[in-house]
Symmetry: C2
Subunit: 226 residues, 2 copies
């Protein structure tokens, strides 16, 4: 019998690769997407496609309205999404996003009696987000162990971040080896309603450079330019 | 100038006391309630009354739909709320609730550039909830420090749980000293639309015994019985 695991699935390149890796490791995959007041739902639709294509046993979407607390150009329409590489922590940083997402995954893991959570953070391309670092994952794993029935009852809770040391090119090579079709995924911070990417934001730039460095053809569909 | 702090405010007895304590300690109080698919909104209304009465500079309500992942009689209407004292972890346990609530508070704290979060958990009356123990608070504080800009930039994030070692009677004495009117608060797991308490659930029982032990008249409004 396969062990259940909760996979945080955004619909982007990284988390789709993580789902492919969790399936490859033999887990029964329960995919969780979080709708947090972001600009578009193209990535949630991408997540549903990826979950179905990779044989997740179920895919849930949880709604959290982060726009209420503001603080990011991804949830605050009055801010402009940056198109140039930024230094330091970029304005696309969503406050405590990975802490929140992992908390939701942890709650669902408890309900499912799962002891494994997968998340697609990676340190190399972390763009200055504090909650994409290995020490963050370690701290959350410790928290998860004391926060839950599993912890009280002496069982552990494991947070897997299989991409944590990989560059975008290595992630793309891994997913390609696992048979993942990246055309299904959406990484762009401001994709249009059909999921077509802007080609200019930080996320598009990192993705395009990753395909180039991996020597793999980029299947991303970009918005047509005038 | 007062330092800003985020106070998790449920509308119950404990968190109202925490707000009174944070105000007394000189913080500029930003109150945060979470609406998580619970049975009634009486406690959110109570939170709004308490925030206004205690001079919080603002009160936000964030929506999270925990019902989607099930697992608690507080969010799953197909389960029955227990009326007898339970042993072990009760069915009213909401998976990862305090982890989630603190994550939301952490996100707002980042936006406000606050370094202090207050939460009303207490270990003595924790009813078997794993995420009401001191080791949980400590683990979250460590997580908060590595998860955030404040952590990256070398500043700390403090999670205050001033009730952690207090019994319900001591909490009630503290709030009463601080001038808090507990008639504004709602603790009942199944309060009616007007905020009247059932008088029979675990939460009602702990509250009633607290007033008795404190030797303070119980101002709670109970549902009339046939």
């Amino acid at each position: 019998m396969r062990k259940p695991a909760v996979i945080l699935l955004s619909g982007g390149l990284d988390s789709a690769t993580v789902l492919a890796a969790a399936r490859d490791a033999g887990f029964e995959c329960h995919a969780l997407s979080v709708s947090y007041g972001q600009r578009h739902l193209a990535e949630i639709e991408a997540a549903a496609r990826v979950a179905a294509a990779l044989g997740a046993v179920q895919h849930r979407v949880m709604d959290v309205n982060l726009a209420g607390i503001g603080g990011s150009s991804l949830t605050d329409l009055s801010q402009v999404v940056p198109e140039a590489p930024s230094t330091g922590i970029p304005s696309t940083y969503v406050p405590a996003r990975n802490t929140l997402f992992l908390s939701l995954a942890l709650g669902w893991a408890e309900v499912l009696e799962a002891h494994d959570i997968f998340v697609g953070v990676n340190a190399v391309d972390y763009s200055g987000y504090p909650d994409c670092r290995p020490e963050f994952i370690d701290a959350f794993e410790r928290l998860a162990t004391v926060a839950t029935k599993a912890g009280v009852e002496g069982q552990g809770m494991r947070v897997h971040a299989p991409l944590i040391d990989l560059g975008k090119d290595e992630i793309i090579k891994l997913g390609t080896q696992l048979g993942l079709d990246y055309a299904m995924t959406v990484s762009c911070y401001q994709a249009d309603g059909s999921g077509a990417a802007c080609g200019r934001c930080d996320s598009c730039r990192l993705r395009r450079e990753g395909f180039e460095a991996a020597g793999i053809a980029d299947p991303t569909r970009y918005v047509a330019r005038a």
